[in-house]
């Protein structure tokens, strides 16, 4: 017993169960943040005066440490996954919005004019011209958001075992099983690297016109 992948009973999950939980707790917030970030960014592009205040508010939110954010939310959402996921969604939003704004803004005026001349309405122009051209910037933001979100889930351990793979850290000290901590750190890192690689792949599929060289970001 007590093999590398055997977890103490109080974790209440198998190793793979925790991996699944971790992926969900880390990725769902980024998805939500993306869905919110797209319209917010569009608003910022459309009305330039919106951007500085949005940037200001998000910068302040970003500077709140995750643990404090979790603890304050306990009052509203209990010691639950939701409490962990809301701050992660906020942090992701902060990373995504500037990336998308810059991406959409980088679309040349001539291109937009050409689209308009071809009879594209604003919606079609957004979906078929602006978004694809901004895709690399959006995905660059997503890569940062996903990796940091997956890494921050672990802190959820401190608010009543809501940290998925992070929960192994507590048991590593309690039961004097350092291997559990090694496992937790490596698996979390691997999950992040895998998600990152997946996003690079998605970018290549979405933007076949881009050069194949790995962009450093």
């Amino acid at each position: 017993m007590n093999g590398f992948f055997d977890l103490p009973s109080d974790l209440q999950h198998s190793y793979l169960g925790l991996v699944g939980l971790h992926a969900r707790e880390g990725l769902l917030p980024v998805l939500v943040a993306l869905l919110v970030a797209l319209p917010v960014a569009q608003l910022c592009v459309r009305f330039r005066w919106v951007y500085p205040p949005v940037l200001g508010v998000t910068t302040v939110l970003y500077s709140i440490p995750s643990l404090a954010f979790f603890v304050v939310l306990i009052d509203y959402f209990g010691q639950s996954e939701t409490t962990v996921m809301i701050p992660l969604a906020v942090y992701s939003l902060v990373v995504l919005v500037p990336g998308i704004v810059d991406g959409v803004r980088s679309v040349p005026q001539e291109t937009l004019a050409a689209a308009q001349a071809m009879g594209f309405g604003p919606v079609r122009r957004y979906l078929q011209v602006q978004l694809p051209i901004a895709a690399p910037a959006i995905i660059a933001g997503l890569r940062v958001a996903v990796v940091s979100s997956l890494s921050l889930v672990s802190v959820g351990m401190l608010i009543g075992n809501q940290g998925a793979l992070g929960n192994m850290l507590n048991d590593a000290t309690t039961y004097h099983r350092p291997a559990l901590a090694v496992n937790s750190v490596l698996t979390t890192a691997l999950l992040g690297i895998l998600a990152d690689a997946l996003l690079v792949l998605v970018r290549r599929l979405l933007t076949p016109w881009m050069p194949r060289k790995g962009a450093t970001r």
């Binding site: 910068t59 302040v60 970003y62 500077s63 709140i64 440490p65 995750s66 643990l67 404090a68 954010f69 603890v71 304050v72 009052d75 940062v144 990796v147 940091s148 997956l150 890494s151 921050l152 889930v153 672990s154 802190v155 351990m157 401190l158 608010i159 940290g163 793979l165 992070g166 850290l169 590593a172 000290t173 350092p178 901590a181 090694v182 937790s184 750190v185 979390t188 890192a189 691997l190 999950l191 992040g192 690297i193 990152d196 790995g214 962009a215 450093t216 970001r217």
Partner: protein, 222 residues
């Protein structure tokens, strides 16, 4: 808004202003941890980024290292290092440095690599040695971006240094962890406000630093 009430209660309690658990002590500890971590990270990230950027090589390897560094969970690394090393500052420094090196390294590399090649070639043509090309031509032009990398790293360190409290160290995280276990939201909100304030102060410091150090010519063109 009860968050404001909590913050007000925390800051108006005179007991929070002196002693080993007072705001000045905890703030000083937090600043110390953050500065040390930033210093170590810069000592690693800047030279490597400058040299690789200058020669324009190793970009893929750096990207890989950066991704790996970002993917390592700071909190997990802290607990693991604590188990391996025990009490002290080192188990806290390691995750903070690992967190801070990628942004410094990658932006420095990008900053130097993307410097307009014509002045660089001109400098070489004038017979400048490589070291002077790097420090007198490339560095001044790349400085704004390099500073932005340092700024990102500093903000992340300030916010993440709170976890030091989990392994019994001080810093502003003390208020957040203690508040969690004592179910004292005043402390949590007060601690979070101080950390956020410190992070915003960091932003201002870097803004000021870039005003002072970046050459006016570069500032105008960027």
């Amino acid at each position: 808004m009860n968050v404001l009430n909590f913050a007000h209660a925390f800051f108006s309690d005179s007991a929070h202003w002196h002693g080993y658990d007072g705001i000045p002590t905890r703030l000083a500890e937090h600043v110390r941890y953050s500065l040390e971590a930033l210093l170590f990270a810069a000592l690693i990230g800047l030279p490597v980024g400058l040299v690789t950027g200058h020669y324009g090589r190793g970009g893929n390897a750096l990207a890989l290292i950066a991704t790996a560094g970002r993917a390592l969970p700071s909190f997990g690394l802290l607990v693991l290092m604590f188990i391996w090393i025990g009490f002290g500052l080192l188990p806290v420094m390691i995750p903070l440095v690992v967190l801070a090196v990628p942004p410094i390294l990658v932006t420095t590399y990008e900053a130097v690599r993307s410097v307009d090649p014509s002045p660089v070639d001109a400098a070489r043509g004038m017979g400048m040695p490589e070291a002077r090309v790097l420090f007198q031509v490339e560095l001044p032009v790349a400085l704004p971006l390099i500073l932005s990398g340092l700024r990102t790293a500093a903000i992340q360190i300030v916010s993440t240094a709170t976890i030091a409290a989990y392994v019994s160290l001080g810093g502003l995280g003390r208020y957040i962890i203690d508040g969690l276990y004592q179910r004292n939201y005043e402390k949590v909100v007060g601690g979070a406000t101080l950390v956020a304030g410190l992070a915003l102060t960091t932003l201002v410091v870097f803004w000021a630093a870039s005003r002072i150090t970046v050459s006016p010519g570069v500032r105008r063109s960027s």
